[in-house]
Amino acid sequence: MSAQITDTAVQASVVVDAPIDKAFTVFTTDIGTWWPPEHHILEGELAEMIFEPRVGGHVYDRATNGNECHWARVLVYEPPTRIVFSWDISLQWQLEPDQERTSEIEVRFIAESPDRTRVELEHRKLDRHGDGWESMRDAVGSPEGWTVGLMRFAEQAAS
């Protein structure tokens, strides 16, 4: 796991012990099995996450009360090597209706061997969200909270 930062994008990557087809399926269809549970803007209790496997589809959360939150559009869908989806969430932590103010995420899957896959992720065009980071920071808490969470997951992954 590693990360670096360019001007208006961040990159992260991870190598998983799984074939490329499975890595792709878990990342997309099974997104609900790994998406950080505290990161939903849905009203109501989360029932499931759906990743519609086609260009023009959505990634959305569905609540037990029937509410849905469509927070991403699938822009590229090329199984099992590449997807691009939008991040339609504003810095006020609300759905962003203006597509000019949304960022995008590209994920590439590269087979290192039949049983190992490198996953490279880039979240780019972050400047399109504009100003107003402070309200988002207030909503998500301090950087220290993240560090603790990251360490907890790293320990789980290594065990």
Partner: protein, 97 residues
Amino acid sequence: MTPVAALGDGTRLAIFELLAQGPSAVGELASQLPVSRPAVSQHLKVLKEAGLVIDRAEGTRRLYQLDPSGLAELKAYFDRFWNYALVSFKTAVEREK
């Protein structure tokens, strides 16, 4: 230095949190922290190079404040978020044998 690395230091994180409350001069920051004024200046320089903080002259004083565009901070946020999410993804994909 990246924003994440810059905030990885406890003193710099403390300075950053103080500046989140409003613009401040070096002396004011030093008076609220257990470090010397030159040390605070050095940390501010790092935060500035990381794009987290900007400075401006006000009269005879130099005031430091968080970069209002917040892009560096936004990147630091997503940098943490995706690393956290990818570790969770790795756990999930390797569990489903």
